[in-house]
Symmetry: C2
Subunit: 325 residues, 2 copies
């Protein structure tokens, strides 16, 4: 099985690459090659199969990013929410025209590959009161969500035409993200766990009662691997799925943090940020996914396990990366 | 009021241009200039205001198509359903990237214009059994509908960002279309009225019980003019509307034809066409629009009036155009 990861140098891209390298298989089939593509050639994990790495722009996708014979493409390359809001042209080029380029690369292959695309909860709106069913319409309140929703449609059509066999996962906000704060408007949802565990202060721009739809990196990685191997025949025209995330409040996240490291939540300072609140405030905090669980997407683990997994999987690397000894 | 019509040489574009020329006003405000843009410079109607005409490709939209000071843009340029299905690249370039070009042209203006976009019933699926509410999800079953649905999203986002003030109308199949059969999969819905009224035989590719969501050119033109002048404040993020068309069967269309010209329906021959049936068979034949009527979009006239209006407005011109004396 030949696999490409576009955005393979990003947070989830590296998680998926590590899992493939560790497992050596995907859906029970041995992995025979892995290509990692990102703006700069990503680091290759040590793996029991050859790994090629490649740098470039997804909107001008080099053919080598999806070589002939590719079975599975993880299409994760994206300009995230706050950055796409700040720079309309950049977001459109990467998130929308980048998806056109992926479609064109797949059309050129002799055999249509599975394409796993990461859409987002940010493609929905409705705000704090919303609790959405699988058939809810996407009425995005930001350019990132718009570009993701439009890309989902293009990928579904490309699947119908036989150019590929796509599964789009509307991922929840992933916590806890390692490394540093980034340009995603949702960055603080991870920072309020990560920074205190590092012994650092951090700012919370929304009230404690603010609710959010989240998933852990472990669970998201599982879902992406499941989407790569599942039977898509029951999906029909509708290639988009809302996997079963967790609906939690910021207060509940801080409680889980306290369970793992008592006293840590004291490092979180309340500093309202209306610009951030306006973006994340549009995202619905609750979904009732039925279709994805029925298609085998695993239910989410409890919140405290999410904090523990971060401490186990990513805390040391983050400390080293940030020179915090 | 300065107005541009993109696709101004097409069926609906010419109808809108004629109405503006006849009225001299839009929503009570005098029209001061009209620009007509299409692949080839469209003919200018004689009008009480200056009319500029311009040829070019919407995906490489010349600035003169939407000059500084433009108040209203009718964005009607499109590659229609069967053509977009036959040529993926052409449909994507015109229907999707053409819309990007319209957005960019509007961004350059000092004042965001009203943009009236023609989306389509073909952006929905569900087939003959479907009866859809305003909040139904678009799960298109063809590339044309996909490109229209994605364009709606981009225009809504551009409106949210203040680049424009868009209203997207998901038009029903428009009958009766004058001229000749065209590449729209829905062409036969008009042909079964037009051709017999011209004394010509025509083919019906679906059963008489086949149901379809239609509107007349007169009503569609009214809706487009209303969308150009209405207050969009109540629309919020959702810039798309399903105007109140008519749900009719092919048999009912033939009955209306018989009422207007007894014996004419005998010229319709039943010749099943699975390719055509597959495309139009995916479009839902019924909607329950609530939002558009509440926003002032006029209810539809009865079917027999549609046939009579065609005979009054377009039959002679079609006869001349086709050299049928
Ligand atoms: N992390 C989340 O909370 C979350 C939530 C919902 C959806 N998603 C989606 O999941 C995917 C992965 O998210 P992530 O958290 O790993 O994000 P990330 O920013 O860490 O990774 C995205 C990668 O895309 C790359 N990229 C950006 N522009 C590019 C271009 N022009 N050409 C090639 N590569 C380019 C970046 O360099 C980056 O490595 C993204 O599509 C994101 O939108 C993430
Ligand atoms: N007529 C219908 O039944 C119907 C139903 C739903 C939606 N619509 C939509 O309404 C609009 C008008 O429909 P119509 O029936 O007048 O169609 P039409 O085909 O008569 O008009 C479309 C016009 O767009 C022009 N065009 C095509 N490619 C172009 C390009 N690259 N650059 C510039 N112009 C280009 C064509 O030359 C044509 O004049 C279209 O957007 C159509 O998709 C029509």
């Amino acid at each position: 099985m030949r696999i490409s990861i576009l955005g393979g140098g990003g947070f989830l891209g590296r998680k998926v690459a590590s899992r493939l390298a560790a497992d050596g298989t995907l859906g029970g089939t041995p992995v025979t090659s892995l290509t990692l593509f990102d703006l700069a050639a990503p680091p290759a994990p040590s793996a029991p199969f050859p790994v090629a790495t490649l740098g470039g722009d997804i909107a001008a996708l080099p053919a080598a990013a999806i070589p002939e014979g590719t079975d599975v493409v993880f299409h994760l390359a994206a300009v995230v929410s706050a950055a796409a809001e700040a720079d309309y042209d950049l977001g459109r080029r990467v998130n929308l025209h980048g998806t056109d380029a992926v479609i064109d690369a797949c059309r050129r292959l002799a055999r249509p590959p599975r394409v796993v695309f990461t859409s987002s909860v940010a493609s929905f709106s409705g705000g704090q009161g919303a609790l959405l069913d699988d058939d809810a319409r996407q009425v995005p309140a930001n350019s990132y969500g718009t570009q993701k929703a439009a890309a989902e449609m293009l990928l579904a059509d490309a699947s119908r035409r036989g150019f590929m066999d796509a599964v789009s996962l509307r991922l929840p906000t992933i916590i806890v993200r390692p490394g540093r704060p980034n340009k995603a408007a949702s960055s603080f949802f991870s920072a309020i766990v990560r920074e205190p565990l590092l012994g650092l202060e951090t700012e919370l721009p929304v009230p404690d009662a603010f609710a959010v739809w989240v998933a852990s990196p472990r669970r998201a990685t599982e879902w992406l691997l499941h989407a790569a191997a599942m039977d898509t025949a029951p999906m029909g025209l509708d290639r988009s799925l809302t996997p079963p995330g967790l609906s939690v409040t910021v207060g509940e996240i801080l409680t889980a943090l306290e369970q793992v490291k008592p006293g840590a939540a004291a490092l979180v300072r309340r500093v309202a940020d209306p610009a951030i609140a306006a973006i994340v405030g549009g995202w619905p905090p609750g979904f009732r996914p039925v279709r994805a669980p029925a298609l085998g997407f695993a239910r989410h683990e409890p919140l405290v396990d999410v904090v523990r997994a971060f401490a186990a999987d990513d805390l040391d690397a983050t400390r080293r990366e940030r020179g915090l000894g």
